[in-house]
Symmetry: C2
Subunit: 336 residues, 2 copies
């Protein structure tokens, strides 16, 4: 799935900035893909991009309106429909990462059809995906794995890709979820494929490449997640990672979505990931730890937490957003 | 999905008995669900059931014609269509476990519609499945896990269910694949659900039950399978097994479908399965080993192979089809 860009980011009239975190993330990580934001009166979020009408954005070269909001309940509220229709009218395609399909909103579907606009629902995939063949592909791969879902795997992968590029390395961020796909302009929503084809989708996502090229793969969930572990294991096998970065969260001891299940200890997580990853890549190794320290206000406290984990695991440990990821990039550069 | 029965088993005109192994398995494990077989001239397979026309079967109470054949290429050949149409005409519904949907065969779909017959494609699921909640359900569960796919998990589960029932235990076989579903008359094709809902489907498959009731769950693939591991892990988490039986194959050292990938050692397989299963059931334990010894002709050689594994693992080890599964049932009965 390759998306038309540049984007006009639609933020609706969200009452809290956090409800527009998809849009904020896109503006932060893909500024060259964004031309402006489109907000309704009362919107509490601000990406810092210029406020543009769909007409002005189209005139400035925008190709699509991207829904950058996560509405409560997952469905697009009716009072946002006019904004979507105005975008179609101005010549823009629509892109959404929400569960509700754009094509299931009748006025949107009808208007898009009559005007010849395209609707991209990146959470859904209509790709014809083969079974995985498990054969080692050329090129290098680093996969984000984790103790839990929603603890910063995507941001860590994006930061690491940026760091590798800044060092002149040939690196590509590979998106496995809706926000990542909109940021990258392409990818596969791994959790939306049929169960038998998870690893097959992961093989397509990071195809054969030059020997010195790095795919930095976003990752999804956790093999220790009671609801979504299957997605994570299929992604692990199909990604054939040479390197894995294990992602943790300083403020969390139990699964965010299943709070009765405790996170596994880091040592066990490293061991089990390596044993399972070596099915498809015998060299697979956890090379570093990425910790989301957003719950620790003082930098000193965050540093102390990272040092403790580095000591415990013997691995480079950082919060990529707070302190950068030089050590993680160093670790990748030692893999020949 | 609950299937209409009794069945008339359709065996086509397969040139080798092995091509009708679905039908042979159904006749063996669900004789009370089968009323006869329907064969075309030249058919090399024989279930031992009476040969009946669809009309005779319907008169004797049959409710559905079951496709018991796995045609080469997965699609139903055109010269079998008249037999399917004759069954619809005689008042039978159709049941298939093949990849091709019955509803995609135009004359079959049209005839079924005009006569009001139902078409059951058990490999596909239209169920609305929720995400797993990971909450421990009452009742006991035993899941077949394995080093590989296609090495006897289904037959082991069926034999163990039979043994438990013969001891007066309250036990139910839970089917996770197409042949198992036709044998049981219900179940969910776990590998056909959307990736995010594998564990959710497994939770539905073995719902809350009496404290002393055992679900014996068929199992699918292997967490060590490079193509289908995600299915197996989602099933493991959603099944919340109290007990696991690890299934191996005496004649195989590498994955049948990905022959460049070696089977993991038994000790490692036990350890990793227990670590991952304990996410949703802290008591989960591998209680025995089931070995498919069909590649060893002499019973002595098979016994020696099983003894070696029992010694190596310290666990009861049997070939459930060849030597029964008394030891496995004993192991389950010690779990209170």
């Amino acid at each position: 799935m390759t998306l038309p860009s540049p984007y006009l980011l639609f933020l609706g009239d969200v009452a809290e900035a956090n409800r527009a975190k998809t849009g904020l993330g896109i503006a932060h990580w893909a500024p060259d893909r964004c031309i402006g934001q489109n907000r309704m009166p009362g919107c509490a979020a601000d990406t810092g991009l210029p406020d543009l009408t769909p007409q002005a954005a189209a005139a400035a070269g925008a190709k699509a309106l991207v829904s950058g909001v996560a509405p409560q309940g997952g469905a697009i509220p009716e009072h946002w429909h006019p904004a979507l229709l105005a975008a179609l009218d101005a010549g823009l395609d629509l892109i959404s990462g929400m569960h509700t399909r754009l094509s299931d909103i009748q006025p949107v579907a009808e208007t898009a059809k009559s005007l010849g606009r395209r609707l991209f629902d990146v959470r859904h995939t209509d790709l014809d995906i083969p079974s995985a063949n498990g054969l080692k592909r050329p090129g290098k791969r680093c996969l984000m794995v984790g103790l839990d879902s929603a603890l910063g795997k995507k941001w860590a992968a994006l930061a690491l890709t940026q760091e590798m590029k800044s060092r002149g390395e040939n690196a590509t961020f590979r998106a496995t979820g809706q926000t990542g796909i909109i940021i990258a302009g392409q990818g596969i929503a791994i959790d939306a494929v049929v169960a038998d084809f998870i690893a097959g989708a992961a093989e397509i996502l990071s195809p054969s490449n030059d020997h010195d090229h790095w795919d930095i793969i976003e990752g999804q969930g956790s093999i220790f997640h009671g609801a979504y572990g299957g997605v994570s294991l299929g992604l692990l096998h199909g990604s054939q990672p040479d390197a894995m970065v294990l992602c943790a969260h300083a403020g969390r001891t139990h699964l965010e979505l299943l709070p009765h299940i405790a996170h596994r200890p880091l040592g066990q997580a490293i061991s089990v990931h390596e044993q399972l990853a070596r099915i498809t890549n015998p060299a697979a190794t956890v090379v570093g730890i990425s910790v989301n320290t957003s719950s620790l206000k003082a930098d000193d406290a965050a540093r102390a937490h990272l040092d403790k984990i580095a000591h415990e695991t013997g691995l480079p440990t950082t919060d990529p957003i707070r302190f950068g990821c030089a050590e993680l990039a160093n670790a990748l550069q030692t893999i020949i």
